[in-house]
């Protein structure tokens, strides 16, 4: 188990290295105008040259990358070129907001999807058709459209929820819940739609297997068969979907954070990319890759726990 973990971590670090190298190289080729972006339209060539020297933009790619990498391995991701804020603190300030939305949406959608999936697979009939229909609708409606509908109806018309903004949990737990309710609901809608469908198919598939027939023939109640055995076998497929959705959410929440003016990683990613704030862009990339690696690791571990066969392989 330990070797399995170490191998996964090793692969993750390698992945992190490869992705950051590629990203840094790509950014290098579009870094000509950054000093001009910082200094504005009136800047003289001398000012631009000065700023380029200050930022190290006059250095060759290898020097710049090694500089960055040297800092990154010691946990120092540098400072934003535009506001001198340390990248690590910029990320740490914004991470709680983004992770609250993403993890909140994922947990709620996992529970809802499991319930709907089981109901659809076992009862079939109208529930099944309703779940299918919901899946179709969820797939067809992007989360930002759902978000706008939610804001218009529940925030602007009914005035139940705030239309924008984020209240930290420590400030006021009740307002915190109100402030994240709509963004999470907007994300959950699409997530549930996809995951419920996966749960349903996996459960239907497992219920047809021989071992289920054997279990039934030994006199186990249907409830026991489904919740003790079928779900356990059907879970890996659904978990994989959830982990993929998490990765998708890291991107999808960017738009949601913009619509709700949430101070998450999303607006930071958008702003730093459009400005060419390379240290911040790199910070966002590192954060995203680490999240993806972590989630995959957790999913592998849970799958191993659910299904001993995976551990062997």
């Amino acid at each position: 188990m330990l070797i399995f973990l170490l191998r996964r971590l090793g692969a993750g670090i390698l992945l992190l290295f490869v992705i950051t190298t590629i990203t840094y190289t790509l950014l290098y080729f579009s870094s000509d105008g950054i000093a001009q972006n910082i200094l504005g339209e009136f800047a003289t060539p001398e000012q631009i040259a000065l700023k380029q020297a200050e930022l190290g933009l006059d250095q060759p790619l290898a020097t710049r990358y090694l500089d960055w990498l040297g800092g990154a391995v010691t946990g120092d991701l540098g400072r934003s070129w535009f506001n001198s804020e340390p990248v690590v603190s910029a990320l740490l300030n914004r991470l709680p907001v983004s992770l609250t939305i993403v993890i909140g949406a994922l947990l709620i959608s996992a529970v809802l999807a499991a319930l709907l999936g089981v109901a659809a697979a076992i009862k079939r009939g109208w529930i099944d058709r309703a779940v299918q229909l919901l899946s179709l609708a969820g797939d067809a409606l992007p989360s930002f459209v759902v978000a706008i509908v939610l804001v218009t109806s529940l925030a602007i018309q009914a005035k139940i929820f705030p239309a924008t903004g984020f209240v930290p949990f420590a400030d006021n737990p009740a307002l915190w819940i109100m402030s994240i309710a709509l963004p999470i609901t907007a994300l959950v809608f699409q997530l549930v739609a996809q995951a419920a469908q996966q749960f349903r198919s996996a459960i239907i598939d497992v219920r047809r297997r021989d071992f289920v027939r054997t279990l039934r023939s030994r006199g186990l109640s249907e409830r026991e068969v489904v919740f003790k055995h079928v779900l356990r076998s059907a879970a890996p497929a659904a978990l994989t979907i959830l982990s993929l959705q998490f990765v998708g959410l890291l991107g999808g929440s960017v738009i949601i954070e913009q619509i709700f003016a949430l101070p998450g990683v999303g607006p930071l990613a958008v702003l730093s990319t459009t400005q060419g704030d390379i240290p911040v862009v790199m910070g966002v990339v590192v954060y995203t890759v680490i999240m993806v690696i972590l989630v995959n690791l957790v999913v592998d571990l849970v799958n191993g726990w659910l299904n001993p066969k995976v551990r062997v392989s």
Binding site: G33, Q36, A43, T44, A163, G165, A261, G276
Partner: protein, 508 residues
């Protein structure tokens, strides 16, 4: 729409006149609007941008002003109508050569850390501003240094006459921070100024809400119309309109598509033309694209553009067509030039034929990836008179820098309509960034020299000259659509993307 923008303009002018008369009679410290009236409550505004650093040397103009004005006073205050009034400097005077600017300073101002404001503080700030190389550093390019004459008198030495310097001292270059805090790390997140408000760091969430509370020792309580000010960065226009319509904020800038939602919710609207949009002819010498070196070709393109249709279809009429790059408030504005080029494809074709291009010609048009629709319209209208434009799409983040390299002979852009000297430094003069091929001729050089010496007639002549010579093909002035609720009153700020913070007041 036309009527409404006229009404808004009339209101703006009346308000400006009121301020003017107020100043002339009293001569006291300026107040950016009414000084009487109710005070108190909270002002909450949504902003298109997020503040990057509270270091005054890192400050920017336009949308960013609202983050700095609560905490930093400027040396000079720019009134809503554009007039300059005393703020930290009570008086200013040039010498005969226009290169020595003497500022008389207030002697009763203290920064919020207890440091006294004096001439040495002015010197420390301007020195810091010049070396910190912030986004507005070039506005202090003509400043050679500051001399401390005595505690209340500072002399700014200029390398050459700079008609823009007083404006700059009313903006970024004029923000005064405590000299004790300027070179410290802390000023990035915690501003230390002498402004009407202080940043409440406990109630501030970076990237979401910046909360300002009254500065208890402020020297001019007239500028403290609210107990609290919140500025909320909301880059997304959907977030702004939702926050505004649901009452979370009192005021924000919307756009042509979201404006009907604002109007429908019964909000008040200020429209003011801040930018002009149109084609820039960079290659007026015809070095890269020979036809553009001929004034008749540039005029032909001006006649080929159907400005009104573009305005109505792309901006839903939120603007006014024009053939000049100068705004109505500028000393260089010439009313007759607004309709100098009408839409006349026949005339365009005959001008092209006169210039020796009866069958048109080919040119390359760089296209900002954020502006593909208008560029498609431009290509179509050019094609209608026989000009075949090949589009080269450039990612919007690189577009400006790409056209600055001088690779392209023309390009579409939207740009701020400043005062004559600001516009010259920005897109007319030989050193302007938006004149990448550094084009100038004898007439323009002579007129620019006269503008630099402070001659307003020369500014008008320059506008006439570059309009007739078709240095640009301006399409229209674009209205900024600023919306606010009934709890506050707002006065427009001339030539600024959003109103100055002093222009907001609680409603009666």
């Amino acid at each position: 729409m036309k009527l409404r923008s006229r009404a808004a303009l009339a209101a703006m002018l009346t308000a400006g006149a009121l301020v003017l008369t107020g100043c002339g009679a009293g001569g006291g410290p300026a107040g950016g609007g009414d000084t009487a009236g109710p005070t108190g409550g909270t002002l909450s505004i949504g902003s298109l941008v997020d503040v990057t650093s509270f270091d005054p040397a890192a400050s920017h103009v336009g949308h960013y002003m609202q983050y700095y004005q609560p905490v930093y006073d400027t040396l000079i205050l720019r009134e809503p109508n554009g007039d300059l009034s005393p703020m930290l400097a009570t008086d200013w005077e040039y010498d005969d050569t226009q290169t020595e600017l003497t500022l008389t300073l207030r002697d009763d101002v203290t920064f919020t850390d207890g440091t006294k404001f004096d001439a040495a503080a002015v010197k420390a700030n301007i020195d810091h501003f010049k070396v910190a190389n912030g986004p507005q550093a070039s506005t202090a390019a003509s400043i050679e240094g500051v001399r401390v004459e005595d505690a209340d008198t500072a002399i700014i030495d200029l390398s050459a006459p700079d008609p823009g310097i007083l404006l700059y001292l009313a903006a970024s270059a004029g923000f005064m921070g405590s000299p004790a805090a300027l070179e410290t790390e802390g000023i990035i997140s915690t501003p230390v100024g002498s402004g009407p408000y202080v940043l409440d760091t406990a109630a501030t969430v970076t990237g979401a809400t910046y909360t300002y509370t009254k500065n208890p020792d402020y020297w001019n309580p007239d500028l403290q119309k609210f107990d609290k000010i919140e500025v909320k960065p909301m880059q997304d226009v959907t977030a702004r309109v939702n926050a505004l319509v649901s009452g979370q904020i009192n005021a924000a800038l919307l756009d042509a598509k979201t404006a009907p939602q604002g109007t429908g919710a019964g909000l008040n609207e200020i429209t003011s033309p801040v930018d002009w949009q149109g084609l820039f002819f960079f290659d007026r010498a015809g070095a890269q694209s020979e036809p553009l070196g001929d004034v008749r070709v540039r005029q032909a393109i001006n006649y080929a553009i159907d400005r009104q249709t573009l305005l109505d279809s792309l901006l839903l009429g939120n603007g006014e067509v024009t053939s000049q790059i100068t705004g109505k408030a500028s000393a260089g504005y010439v009313e007759d030039l607004d309709d100098y080029y009408d839409f006349d494809p026949k005339k365009a074709k005959s001008l092209l034929a006169d210039a020796g291009y009866p069958d048109g010609f080919d040119l390359t048009l760089p296209v900002n990836s954020a502006d593909v629709i208008i560029n498609a319209a431009i290509v179509q209208q050019l094609a209608d008179v026989g000009i075949n434009a090949t589009q080269v799409v450039i990612p919007s983040t690189d577009y400006r820098n790409e056209i600055f390299t001088g690779k392209y002979s023309l390009g579409y852009y939207g740009i701020f309509q400043g005062d004559p000297w600001v516009a010259i430094n920005h897109h007319i003069g030989p050193n302007a960034a938006f004149n990448p091929l550094k084009y100038e001729d004898e007439t323009s050089a002579a007129l620019i020299a006269r503008v630099q010496a402070g001659d307003d007639d020369a500014a008008k002549e320059l506008t006439e000259y570059i309009t007739e010579e078709a240095w640009f093909a301006p399409f229209y002035r674009v209205n900024q659509l600023y919306f606010f609720d009934d709890k506050i009153t707002v006065e427009n700020q001339l030539q600024q993307a959003v109103p100055s913070i002093y222009n907001y007041a609680p409603a009666q």
